[in-house]
């Protein structure tokens, strides 16, 4: 299959190794990976802030870049939800509506794509360590992805998966929310990170790097011991 | 004087001129004409036979901390009440006239003073009673509830003001679920429903302080359901 990658802007500059890992996993599974180089941001920051006109300007460009893709796989559940759930709303009743709906139907979050589209659980990965999984809220509730990443992690050799308490609770990132309401966002991070620390794991894994930025950011500043955050793709790429 | 009736209705109609999108699936009932949805298919299961439903009522009563007692006959029920009266040192019991209550009270010990709750009763005297004995409309298996009404149960307060509420019911008053209870009320009263209908599920309770359960917040601290037959 020809798989087109969507590497959101912040992953491009802050977590490029996540994209590299996705390429590795997909190629290992025998797929051809494409990456339209003009892609930038899905438009979620202004969309979530209420600036839908601005969001549309940026979003319509992405519609263009991905219009011919057979499938689009997003490195972030949140940006994937933007494509899948919010683009059709953003362009409702506008000329781009059909294109938005089309992209929505072809777009997948990484773990959803592996499990539900490719029907793969074991990607041939090995990872020695005790791991807990954090569900990004957009992946969990907008896309309904919950078991998929867990199934993938359970198939990784050497990996021990431990669930944290209140595992569906939000890490408090929420995009601009994290800087507009830093005190609330930080309180939420503290609760989340304490759940992670209580499990005694060495790694926290997620399918959303934005959550991991929040979690790692809080842990590095406040945690008494080191817990490393990893994107699911990084774990699956490891052999 | 009925206030801004017409203005409010006009605002509603103006607002409704724009249809609302559906955020949920499956319009099971659109408007009044469509058929009644069968809630039982989604609500907790109740079992098919009367035995199962009685067992469920007993189980729910237990969870609710209702004392549920089956008695061979009214005399046995009276004996149970007499036992409660002795154990708790009751001095005065209130009741309303009715077929079951009327059959029960003559068998109570003579040293237990009785108060008949009828039109014009003394509220302070009722408040001073140790227990209130009522009949009910239905027992609801699904929720362990006792359905009382102003008609069947001596008005509105007899079943809530005294600290111990005693209910006497016959076995055939058990219904499967809330829907059946509403159907039963409609069948019995038609359009002239009592002005007060209540489903009582256990003794009065509160969790307002640190979410710790305390029984007898304002209503009865104890509820006893006596089923005869």
């Amino acid at each position: 299959m020809r798989v087109t990658l969507f590497i959101p802007c912040f992953i491009d500059s802050l977590y490029p190794h996540v994209g590299v890992a996705m390429v590795k996993v997909l190629e290992r599974l025998g797929h051809e990976v494409l990456y339209p180089e003009g892609q930038t941001c899905c438009g979620q920051p202004p969309f979530n802030s209420g600036y839908w006109d601005e969001a549309r300007v940026v979003a319509s460009r992405q519609l263009e870049f991905f219009k011919d893709a057979e499938v689009v796989v997003s490195a972030s559940g949140s940006c994937g939800a933007m494509f899948k759930v919010f683009y059709p709303q953003l362009f409702e009743g506008r000329p781009e509506e059909a294109a938005a709906k089309s992209l929505s139907s072809r777009c997948f979050e990484f773990s959803d794509f592996l499990v539900n589209r490719l029907n793969v659980r074991d990607v041939g990965a090995r990872f020695d360590g005790k791991v807990t999984f954090h569900d990004g809220c957009h992946g969990l509730r907008e896309l309904g992805t919950k078991q998929e990443p867990r199934e993938l992690l359970r198939a990784v050799k050497g990996l021990e998966l431990v669930e944290m308490g209140e595992n569906e609770s939000c890490c408090g990132f929420g995009g601009m929310f994290a800087v507009k309401y830093p005190e609330i966002s930080t309180a939420m991070a503290e609760v989340k990170c304490n759940s992670i620390l209580d499990t005694g794991v060495e790694y926290v894994v997620s399918n959303d790097s934005s959550c991991l930025m929040q979690i790692q950011g809080w842990l590095d500043r406040n945690s008494p011991r080191t817990v490393k955050s990893l994107h699911l793709a990084e774990v699956l790429a490891n052999q | 004087m009925n206030g801004d009736r017409d203005k409010i209705l006009a605002r509603i109609r103006e607002g409704l001129s724009v249809p609302a999108p559906l955020h949920h699936e499956m319009p099971a009932r659109a408007g009044q004409s469509a058929q009644e949805p069968a809630f039982r298919a989604w609500l907790p299961a109740v079992g098919a036979s009367q035995e199962e439903q009685m067992a469920l009522f007993a189980k729910q009563s237990d969870l609710l901390r209702t004392e549920f007692v089956t008695c061979a006959d009214v005399r046995a029920a009276a004996a149970h009440v007499a036992g409660l009266a002795a154990a708790h040192g009751w001095k005065k019991l209130a009741f309303h006239p009715g077929a079951l209550t009327g059959a029960l009270v003559p068998h109570l010990p003579t040293d237990l003073e009785q108060m008949r709750v009828e039109e014009g009763y003394d509220k302070l005297a009722l408040e001073a009673c140790d227990a209130g004995l009522t009949e009910c409309e239905f027992l609801v298996a699904q929720t362990g509830s006792v359905c009382v009404t102003a008609r069947s149960s001596g008005g509105r307060t007899l079943s809530v003001l005294p600290p111990h509420h005693l209910v006497i019911a016959s076995r055939d008053q058990l219904v499967a679920d809330l829907s059946s209870a509403y159907q039963g009320l409609n069948a019995k009263y038609g359009a002239a429903l009592p002005s007060f209908i209540s489903f009582i599920s256990g003794p009065s309770r509160t969790g307002d302080i640190e979410r710790i359960l305390v029984l007898g917040a304002h209503g009865p601290k104890k509820l006893t359901v006596l089923v005869v037959g």
């Binding site: 491009d12 802050l14 977590y15 490029p16 930038t40 920051p45 969309f47 209420g50 839908w52 809220c137 509730r141 609770s169 929420g174 609330i184 966002s185 939420m188 991070a189 809080w218 | 801004d4 409010i8 605002r11 509603i12 409704l16 724009v18 609302a20 559906l22 949920h24 499956m26 099971a28 009932r29 989604w42 609500l43 907790p44 709750v117 509220k123 408040e127 362990g144 102003a150 008005g155 809530v160 809330l178 509403y182 159907q183 429903l193 002005s195 007060f196 489903f199 009582i200 599920s201 309770r205 509160t206 307002d208 302080i209 640190e210 979410r211 710790i212 305390v214 917040a217 304002h218 209503g219």
Partner: protein
């Protein structure tokens, strides 16, 4: 920034710093979640039940005029009196005038958020009426001169020693650390109040159109006493509370209990159809229903968010909300706290003054999942944000997003920024966390990741070059 928004920021900062209170709240709500999940699991199909409930509410709200008229007709036929109030002032004045006309002195109240909404107690007390809240939590809040902290659990933030101290001061009771003893103090105090009151004021959880009834859900029995003993009963109910049929309650009562408190059924679910009828033993001589609009029709006019009128005030969305759990109920500064409050308050009290509540959300969606009538709560927060901007964009935000659009529509510019970022980050420690730190709202409490020397884009370009 509006004053309400400033206040919110200040209060949220203060309450999130109160770590023990946050832990206390979280523990209580975790207990709720466990119990709720157990009860939910007994449903044959909770998700379908939600759909059906949403649908009945959809029917009710989208034919509101018809159902309200049906309610009025049936209710009036049984001797009840309906008053339609456009706003708080009208509702207050009707109740006050009624109290004056009937020579009322003492008033007992059962829990009614509509009464908080219109500040009824202040109005009654200022005219010299003796007013007592009978719900235990509301009574505690009344003694504390504080609004409810949570619209279902009014005093959930208080610990028993605080309540004991309050009772000692206000009621002269002996100190105790037993919740049971505290409850009994309130019970003993309240008994006489019910009997002495001339007027009982309640809210209403549902208005049944078919039979002209007000349905009230409670656990304590205080609403039954409030509606059973005084000679006048007034129910103050929002216009949106209609259910088409009496039998609809067979679905809504268990769902309200499950979502609200995790019970199968709340202790007392009572339906009131008129004052005392001929042949009945007792009950009030008069029963008045005040139907309150108070800007509900404004919410109704917003078709996109109309489903929010289906809210049954179970409080489930508050109980699962990470924002509520961390800032608590009072920080909202609203009658209706939590996610649903953040959705509806801008409609009730003005978008520009209350839009910040819609902003103060990570949009995690736990509220929408928990809602028994499937209100699209967290998406409505997005809608409020959009509507606020459409109505009145913030000038500096407009500039920020202009810059964003310029960057994101010019990939070369984004690449250049990525190239410069590592250098900028090396200089960042000079201003870190200080006034001149452009990202201090992040760096005050969290570390920021290092910008990669090589972006994914560059890695890809290089790889493509090499494979040629």
């Amino acid at each position: 920034m509006s004053t309400t928004q400033n206040q919110f920021h200040r209060d949220a900062e203060r309450t999130t710093a109160d770590v023990p209170r946050r832990a206390f709240l979280r523990k209580a709500l975790r207990g709720y979640e466990v119990k709720r999940d157990e009860t939910k699991a007994t449903f044959t199909d909770w998700q379908k039940a939600r759909n059906v409930a949403a649908n009945i509410k959809y029917d009710g709200v989208n034919h509101l005029d018809r159902y309200l008229l049906e309610f009025e007709e049936k209710f009036t036929a049984r001797g009840g009196k309906v008053f339609w109030a456009s706003n708080s002032a009208q509702a207050r004045e009707y109740i006050l005038q009624l109290a004056r006309d009937r020579g009322v002195r003492s008033i007992i109240k059962s829990k009614a958020m509509t009464s908080e909404e219109i500040h009824l107690n202040d109005a009654l007390e200022s005219e010299g009426y003796h007013v007592v809240e009978s719900d235990l939590g509301e009574f505690i809040q009344q003694l504390k001169h504080e609004p409810p902290y949570h619209f279902v659990f009014p005093c959930m933030h208080l610990k028993r020693d605080e309540i004991s101290a309050l009772f000692e001061k206000e009621l002269g009771s002996a100190p105790t650390d037993s919740p049971e003893e505290l409850t009994m103090i309130a019970r003993a105090f309240m008994r006489r109040q019910y009997i002495d009151a001339d007027m009982g004021i309640s809210g209403g959880n549902f208005l049944v159109a078919e039979t002209g009834m007000v349905s009230i859900t409670e656990n304590e029995g205080n609403a039954r006493l409030t509606t059973g003993l005084p000679r006048i009963h007034v129910a103050l109910v929002g216009i949106e509370k209609v259910l088409p049929k009496l039998s609809d309650l067979a679905l809504f009562l268990p769902m309200l209990a499950t979502a609200g408190t995790g019970q199968h059924m709340t202790c007392y679910n009572s339906m009131f159809g008129g004052a005392r009828q001929p042949g009945e033993t007792d009950g009030p001589e008069e029963f008045h229903v005040v139907l309150l609009d108070n800007h509900r029709t404004r919410l109704l006019a917003d078709a996109e968010q109309r489903d929010a009128l289906g809210c049954i005030r179970c409080g489930a969305c508050l109980n699962v909300c990470p924002i509520f759990k961390n800032i608590g109920g009072h920080a909202y500064g609203t009658t209706y706290q939590g996610p649903i409050g953040s959705v509806i308050t801008p409609h009730f009290r003005g978008l520009q003054d209350w839009k910040h509540l819609s902003g103060a959300s990570s949009l995690c969606g736990a509220c929408t999942d928990a809602c028994p009538v499937k209100i699209d709560i967290h998406h409505h927060l997005l809608h409020n944000r959009r509507n606020a901007v459409d109505q009145k964009p913030v000038w500096w935000e407009k500039i920020v997003w202009f810059g964003y659009v310029q960057t994101m529509t010019r990939p070369w510019f984004l690449r250049l920024a990525n190239k410069l970022a590592p250098l900028a980050q090396k200089l960042h420690p000079l201003v870190l966390g200080g006034l001149f730190d452009p990202v201090r709202n992040w760096t005050k409490t969290r570390d920021f990741p290092e910008v990669a020397e090589e972006s994914f884009h560059d890695w890809w370009a290089k790889r493509k070059e090499q494979s040629k």
